[in-house]
Amino acid sequence: MKKRTHLFNLFEIISIITAAVVVVFTSVLILTIIVRGFPYLQEAFLSEEIQFSIKLSLYTASIATFICMFLGVPTAYALTRTSFPFKKLCQIIIELPLSMPYLVLGLSLLLIFSSDLGKALKELGFRVVFDKNGIILAQTVVNLPYVIRFIRTAFQEVDERLEFISGSLGASKWKRFTTITVPLSKNAIIATIILTWSRCLGEFGATLMLVGATRMKTETLTTSIYLNLATGDNGAAMASATIILIISFTSLFITNWLGRKNSKESRMKDVTLR
């Protein structure tokens, strides 16, 4: 018995040391950005170019996140709660972009929207290549598979028997979805929204391929970092990185806070597993 306790403690110690190594490494990365970017931060906030890139980043990330959720939630529902032919194949196709380089995704988008279809859309007033619509599209394409994956996992974790009981109490499929499935995956959905938004803010590869990097036109915060690095202005680049860091920190903080706020009362709430 004593030996077991000893092994368990050793395992705990190794876990804590591993976590500490990860924390130190990540902290060094973050501190480097802050230390190098902070002196230029005030100047960056006053710069018209950075203000433009912040606005463009927030605008495109918000629209792309909305589109991702709008498409992702029904798709995840279809994959977890309905049956249709070739469902497994559809799931593989949907999640395949997860393992593809974003540059390749961007290149595919560029090829599609440089074709006759893209030209026809452009004539109808929907510009994609070298336009902010392209940024939204690139961010959506890159993040949609993540959203579907996260939401699908969240829906899978909801006990289907609860939905069955809800149905036996008279609820239609829509009511079961809105009163049982969604509330029980609420934390995961909120976390997905915020993480997707953060990922959209940081998207660069696909965006660069589709809309290029033009100052004050398609310049998001990540593009601004790229442009400033290309011209040797490392301070401004790190200032943009610091701004992304601040936004990401805020969004992660909100995610955790909401997660805590929404946790339901349980008899286990005061129990610490020993």
Partner: protein, 245 residues
């Protein structure tokens, strides 16, 4: 007597488990127990009657209509799972009120109905609590209240008393019988407890290895028969009742 549930030549394959050739009629206002060892297919039979599965051979009808042709929300069955299946994000009040809200019942009427049900089941004091903070008995009463508040035609219960202590069990047996009198619904429940089946049920179905091997009046449960599997099952589990066989 009218049949509430008719099961004809019903078979279903779930992974490596198979429920084979079930034939059973459950009558209006009857209390029927399905008795069997763990893994004998009791819960699958109960879920099949509720229409949980869509791919099977044979027929399951409720009041003459095929169960899978009736939309789930219109089957008018109450289902109580072994772990009670309470909605964890709702208070006890909201759990009981759920079906009434779906029916768009007036708020005052809802309150009255929930209060009545809470009084019958003695759970007035926990209405504001979440399921995570309740004891086994309180959860069971809440699940029953939620199912019964809609006056279902049929109440299906999967080992509803297995998590309760002996004293609570006894009081719940009485309560369920009382509820059966008040609401007049057909009750079908699954158990592996012989005593429970005899106390509660009018008739008992015995499941062995995915087959319904026998149906008996509860007073004749331990009557010897030709089926050695049933005899062994009743013998092996009843201990004190061995001599009766």
């Amino acid at each position: 007597m009218n049949a509430m549930v008719e099961i004809k030549d019903f078979s279903i394959q779930l992974g490596s488990f198979k429920l084979k050739n079930i034939n059973l009629n459950i009558f209006d206002n009857e209390i029927f127990a399905v008795l069997g060892k763990t893994g004998s297919g009791k819960t699958v039979l109960l879920e099949s009657i509720a229409g949980f599965y869509r791919r099977f051979s044979g027929n399951v009808t409720i009041q003459g209509k095929s169960v899978i042709e009736i939309p789930l929300e219109k089957r008018k069955i109450g289902f109580v799972y072994q772990d009670f299946g309470l909605f964890p994000h709702m208070t006890v009040y909201d759990n009981i009120c759920y079906g009434l809200k779906i029916q768009k019942m007036d708020k005052e009427k809802r309150k009255k109905k929930v209060a009545e049900m809470a009084e019958i089941l003695s759970i007035e004091h926990i209405l504001k609590q979440y399921p995570g903070t309740l004891s086994g008995g309180e959860r069971q009463r809440t699940a029953l209240a939620r199912a019964l508040v809609l006056n279902p035609k049929m109440l299906l219960m999967d080992e509803p008393f297995s998590a309760l202590d002996p004293a609570t069990k006894q009081s719940m047996y009485e309560q369920i019988k009382e509820i059966h009198k008040i609401f007049g619904c057909t009750i079908l429940f699954v158990t592996h407890d012989f005593n429970e089946a005899q106390i509660m049920a009018d008739r008992i179905g015995i499941m062995v290895n995915g087959e319904l091997r026998g149906i008996r009046k509860s007073t004749d449960l331990f009557k010897k028969c030709q089926d050695e599997d049933i005899n062994n099952f009743l013998c092996g589990n009843s201990r004190g009742e061995k001599d009766a066989i």
